[in-house]
Symmetry: C2
Amino acid sequence: MITERTIKTDKIYQGKIINLRVDTVELPDKKYSKREIVEHPGAVAIVPITNNNKIIMVKQYRKPVEETLLEVPAGKLEINEEPIECAKRELLEETGYKSEDLEYILSFYTSPGFSNESISIYTARNLVKDIAQPDEDEYIEIQEYEIDELIKMIQEGNIKDAKTIISILSVKNYAKLY
Amino acid sequence: MITERTIKTDKIYQGKIINLRVDTVELPDKKYSKREIVEHPGAVAIVPITNNNKIIMVKQYRKPVEETLLEVPAGKLEINEEPIECAKRELLEETGYKSEDLEYILSFYTSPGFSNESISIYTARNLVKDIAQPDEDEYIEIQEYEIDELIKMIQEGNIKDAKTIISILSVKNYAKLY
């Protein structure tokens, strides 16, 4: 199998959420090429399903795209944090619901051409109301939807976030809830 | 509607594929925060469908995740390039097939929390065999699959790339081909 051996690594930036490095790699024909790589700690996305089968979504402004997006709740892994614990924590922080009934659906790479970011998706059921605790730089609005509304919004271009599209379509196709 | 006003922009890195900048933004409570933003030119993904209803996939090594991934053909927009022209070009370069029968499916942001990368998905039919012309640092293997095999591979965790998962699930759910 083809791989790309790292000849040299240049660390460009160490940030709050991401790091940037540029690797010089050796290709199969022995030529060299550069790979720009955004390092990310990984994240989880949660599909919170209420007792009457609605999905709890969050709306928030996303500076990189200068748009307010409708998304499933999600958040970055903390150091040494298990994805399922991260899912419980982010569910509570962003929506104010607790759940001990999480089910793993799948994981994916958001953009493996330039980043190692991986997101694991969980459903969360038997939700218990508690108090939301958003991060101090997060402004989040909560909304509930039927899954078929969300499926239609994806088709119409009104849901644009990859993790949300994958979460909704995979719950529809794989989770056998609906 | 809440937005985040840019107070200052620091350009960290200008690369071959991505740029990195850090924006200082003003939040609704007038506090400041930093946003790390990876600028990307945007890309297309193509779902090439053969006359006997198979989907042409590409396998390639992805340095950021240190894995060989099975993906739909895809590529970055060149300067001033229309997405549909980019889709035709990348289809030919990566698979060796030409098509004038492209259909737009949907667009999405790969990771809007830190990047503006947007990918537009097209199906391509009535494929005509020509000669593949991969970029000089691309090593690509071509494989054909039934869509239901791909749907199963997503569920089993054997397809991990976001644009590929969205392409296959959205063609299955929306393109009315199958």
